[in-house]
Amino acid sequence: MSDSPFLPGTRIQFAWDSTSLGWLKECPRKYQYSMIEGWRSRSESVHLKYGQLYHSALETYDKYRAFEPERSHDDAVENAVWEALLQTWEYPDEWDYRKANPAPPSGPGKPWLSDHPAKTRETLIRSIIWYLDHFKDDQAKTVILENGKPAVELSFRMELDFEPNHVARQQGIDGGMGYSPQPYLLCGHLDRVVNYLDGAYVMDRKTSGSTIGSSYFDQYNPDNQMSLYSLAAKVIYQTPVKGVIIDAVQIAVGFSRFSRGFTHRTDSQLEEWLADCKTWFVLAEQYAVAGHWPINDKSCHHFGGCVFRKVCSKSPEVREKFLETDFVKRPWNPLEVR
């Protein structure tokens, strides 16, 4: 399979994840800028990086406890903290401790310096330690899959019974544009599947700079990512999950505070979500074939304000200049395992 999420020679995306599907649902133009062209706001990277580092550390702990149950909680915490410290130290030549048998780095390097007042290297380490201690005696226990392996760090690619060029075939265009029958894929990564009280759940962790109030968890139903996770756990891992446990952390300068919430999905909701996906994919294919992604000008001021609002508010002939000034290109690939 190609490494690209697009059909060869086209802008028709066949491999989707919750992020790229979310862009399309918010606004086709946002989807064009973010997915087709790969533009990222220069300022958004600290939140993404911090979230990824936090996830990575907790995954390290989960794997350690799952694959080496004889080791203690404290051993696993030390392991997670050690890896997070290494991942937040910038060695020269992009030296990476995770490579097999790496030679020592060529120079001393320096600590990652965040330009965010609360999401720093220090608060990351603090949040990792405080979270793991907070949930040390958690009733949520890692599921053991049918193959005997613990359900941690589960990357998936779910093949659908539907492929691009469906629109062209329906319109009687013979062979469409000559595409080979590549089915649509839904891709993603589950941190962990657990048994908790009344059933099995996917577990996900979220970081936030704001207080986690009672309404915080309302945003996760309906929600792309949570629906995809629930579907993936059921279909691929044959685990009839009730939904997703969300462990959220508020990151402040002087503390980290944790809250746990739940979002549930019935089988009917998941069937509906999947059927809607097919509709969205057909729409994306139409935009790609037409080479035009319209602006949804009812979305510009939602979600805290679209990052491309300033670009779209300019006349079309100058937008490219604003993109080049305020954004960087970092392609997003749902096929990439994170």
């Binding site: 404290d74 030390e78 290494l86 780095p105 001393p108 290297r121 380490i125 330690i129 405080w130 300068v253």
Partner: protein, 75 residues
């Protein structure tokens, strides 16, 4: 366990950590968490190592002579 401050440990390359540095980080943040749970709101904040100006500077002889000449010329 390391007696260095959290800030000093954080300022070092992890590959150069001494034995006990990781345990020290964990222990200090656990103490901070205990304080936070008792109501100390900013217990988890970490002061960074700052490159402060030294309070006593090494004197340069030329500077000292220049100062003395200036003092004499004002009298």
């Amino acid at each position: 366990m390391s007696s260095d401050s959290l800030a000093e440990i954080f300022a070092r390359d992890p590959l150069a950590y001494k034995e006990g540095d990781i345990k020290a980080i964990i222990a200090r943040y656990r103490e901070a968490r205990a304080q936070f749970n008792l109501g100390v709101a900013g217990a988890g904040a970490t002061k960074k190592v700052s490159k402060a100006e030294p309070k006593v500077k090494d004197l340069d002889l030329d500077d000292l002579l220049a100062w003395n000449l200036n003092s004499i010329s004002r009298t």
